[in-house]
Amino acid sequence: MKKESTFAYVLRLTVTLLLITAITAGALAWINSITEDRIAAEKARKTAEALSAVLPGGGEEVDIPAVDVGVPVNRLYKGENGYAVEVAPSGFGGTITMMVGVDLEGNILGVSVVSHTETAGLGAVAGDKTSKGEAFRGQYVGQSGELAVSKDGGVIDSISGATITSRAVTDGVNAALALVANMG
């Protein structure tokens, strides 16, 4: 084999890696162009689903008023019958992203959990589609004012073994109520 000069050698390394990277990037761009629309549609469908679960008829996204309600507010939707607020209280295992629907009188229309990282079998019940989870979230419907779990003297029965998660969900609901009350 002929001895390669240093320059040619470095050039060969560079060009090979460049080519591999360029081809990979090209392939990715192509795949992305195919899947992009579907992924966006899928995300929109999910949000719409969560929205319509708590706010019948859906709604338009509006600007969030600059009020401190103690819990991060991600999004705010305004519909015909009321508002839907996406709040993100801190639970036991991390942030719980949840959607809370509130009507114009300040009563809760519904609560749904978009994503969470709570303990499986305990806190995760808050987001479950099981009867236990439905029962827990159902308690909030129709409530108004300042809510608390039964351990803190409130009306909400916490999920057994998951007081912290229950408190977090209640905090999120309270924040949503406070925000909507502020909107008038």
Binding site: T16, L17, I20, T24, R38, I39, K46, A120, G121
Partner: protein
């Protein structure tokens, strides 16, 4: 390389999870329901076959000094493709596997096979190696999933059967929740590795006895 030998190595004697102990992170994290196990196993198998084939085809072109960088770029490319496809076509699976799909990039099985096998063998052999190692990984994951799901949630086939809830075998309140948490992953894997070792030794003994009889 003979086919039977390769198959046996992938499935048992050089099983990526049970013997080589590669890819532990995903093995611990996602093996909580059958759906996850099958999805993760198939994703890894597809990526493994693709990357093995490509790396094997390019093995004479890629200079030794930059091989790791080149392998990682190729692997990352395939992983991203699979990730995007899952998000687009199987959103439920994509959500439940979460961050572990992108993390396949750093799954040692893929780079390990690229370095140990694909960079030294022909395209066909590498493809078969990818397939068999992938099957070995998938089988190990599925066993873990079935055991953990049964003991931890009391169901079978979570995510696929019975509308996603799985078929309930143990009544509510009986399953040990800890089994679907990381602790259960370690416990199950430990027992599974012990079982695999026993099986390897047992088969070995049998083969030797056969040879001696001859």
């Amino acid at each position: 390389m003979n086919l039977k030998q390769q198959f046996k190595e992938g499935l048992l004697t050089k099983n990526p999870v049970l013997v080589q102990l590669l890819g532990m992170c995903s093995t611990m994290a996602i093996t909580t329901s059958l759906f996850n196990g099958i999805g993760m196993g198939l994703s890894v198998t597809i990526i493994l076959i693709c990357s093995n084939v490509l790396i094997s085809a390019l093995r004479k072109v890629i200079p030794n000094q930059i091989r790791i960088a080149a392998y990682i770029v190729i692997i990352a490319g395939f992983v991203t493709i699979v990730d995007l496809c899952l998000q687009a076509f199987l959103p439920d699976l994509s959500e439940s596997l979460g961050v572990f799909i992108p993390l396949i990039v750093v799954n040692c099985i893929i780079l390990g096979r690229a370095e140990a096998f694909a960079s030294k063998n022909g395209v066909v052999a590498s493809a078969l190696d990818g397939l068999f190692q992938g099957i070995g990984y998938t089988v190990a994951l599925i066993i873990m999933c079935v055991v953990r799901e049964f003991l931890g949630s009391g169901t079978f086939g979570g995510g696929i059967l019975n509308g996603g809830e799985g078929i309930r075998i143990l009544p509510e309140g009986v399953p040990a929740m800890l089994m679907v948490m990381p602790v259960g992953g370690f416990l199950t894997l430990g027992c599974l590795i012990a079982g695999a070792q026993w099986l390897v030794k047992y088969l070995d003994k049998k083969e030797k006895a056969k040879e001696a009889a001859k």
